[in-house]
Amino acid sequence: MLDFIIKRLLQVILVVFLALTAVFFLIRLSGDPTALFLPPDAPREQIEEYRELLGFNRPMHEQYTDFMANAVQGDFGQSLRSQEDALQLVIDRLPATFQLAITALILSLVIAIPLGVLSAYKRNSIFDRIGVGITVLGQAVPNFWLGLILIFFFAAQLKILPTGGGGTWVHLILPTITLATYSIARFTRFTRSSMLDILRKDYIRTAKASGVPTIPLVSRYALKNSLIPIITLVALDLGTLLGGAVITEVVFAWPGIGRLLMQSLMNRDFPIVLAAVFIIALIYAIINFIADILYAYVNPQIRVK
């Protein structure tokens, strides 16, 4: 098990390192951003001076090794706009993103697991049709559009909820629903299919035949065993949730990492982009790492492999 953990930990480092490398070169190859910060008629010397200052005139490999050496120490440079520390700016936004992602995760689990269980247990019933319908529709609705529609109804028409911004729990309602919808669809599907697998098992039939009542049958015998694949699939799907959070944050002007990343991409403020990519890759890699460990813990076959 320890071997497995160490191996996966090294992989986390590799993933973050390669993600940063790829984005670094992509940014440098797309040209330097100095022109954006100076007036179009800026004299040549001034442009050169600026390039010198930011280090864009040096050979690529030198810039890269410098960047990596600093990045390892948590120094991603300063924002090209506000001159603040890039990594600190990103970290400051982290709690807001977590708040949104975690409430959405809880909401989707609370809805999806009962729905998936019901859908599987009463297969082909009206519940199953509703469950499958939500699954199919939820995966076809772009979450930014759902966000717009919610804003239209609850903020523009009914005027009972704010259009965006952060701070109180009232601001959290619409973004949470928006972000959770896609996850509800996915998680219902996971729950339904792993419950269907378990309900087909012999021991369930035996339990049923020996007169175990429905609720203990489902909760104690079936759900408990199907939770393992569900947890794994949910953990692996958190990246999609994280990706969706970025778009949701933009729609609702939620002050999280996603909105910061978008603004920095728009402004070509690359130190912040790199710091945000670093944090996102790190979080995602850690989530996957935990999911794998969890999976290996409950399923010894993986550990041996």
């Binding site: 995966q139 717009l148 529609i149 990706g243």
Partner: protein, 302 residues
Amino acid sequence: MSANLEKALHNKPAVEVKNKKESRVYNYFANLFRSWTGTLGFIIIIGLLFISIFGPWITPHDPLYADFSKKLLPPMTDGHLLGTDQLGRDILSRMIVGARVSVIIGVLTVVIAGTFGTIVGIISGYFRGWIDVVLMRIVDVQLSFPFILLVLVINAIIGGGLRNIIISLAIGGWVIFARMIRSEVLALREKEFITACVATGVSRFEILFRHILPNLFTPLIILASLQIGTFIIAEASVSFLGFGVQPPEPAWGNMLNEGKDYIFSSWWLITFPGIAIIIAALGVNLFGDWLRDTLDPELKGD
């Protein structure tokens, strides 16, 4: 009885073969129309293809023509079925032209990402060794970054436009194909007919091209059809965020981006292009699900 038998014996084989072929196509359609979700998906896809091919000839108005005296007209006024936008352009016409953008992006991205992913998957799964380790490590790394964010970051850096959004989506999407094809190839390698080929001295390349490649067709078609919906939604999201397809060229995503500023006054700007995205994604996904259930019954009930 004997007359029937004689008749059967006298049936020409050529006719038989032809009938068999016809009945196979017929069977597929009969099967398709038995599933109402599959049928719905099929109809949506045909409609989408029709609109994207004949779009420019069936728009009621010029999708790019701006008339400020007619800006923000609600639906069903002045000959504008779905109303006009902030510049007085006809929304229905822009949506019709936008359909072509979505279809082109969905199809081309699947073709590019699918081809590249298949090549990588075959190399990885068939030749194994260090190249498999290297390629799969790259796939792992890429899969450890959220797809939509990857597409967004790449597209923001290399710039917008139809060509660049296809490139960004293809870079984001090839890994799924590579991983799936690799596992298919690994499974096929273990099959008896491949062992038989190796034993009888069939060359590696002949095994690859004549025996493995044709067997990859079904899983590839299933995955491709399901990925098109993902790509269409991803493009709309990226264009909505202000990257991707750039205005004035109409795409459903950037129409929503322009419309969001008028959310308090003009609901139709944000409503119709969104519904178009949902219908398109739903159609492709429903058809893909049917295709999977039909071609690969083992996966059914997922």
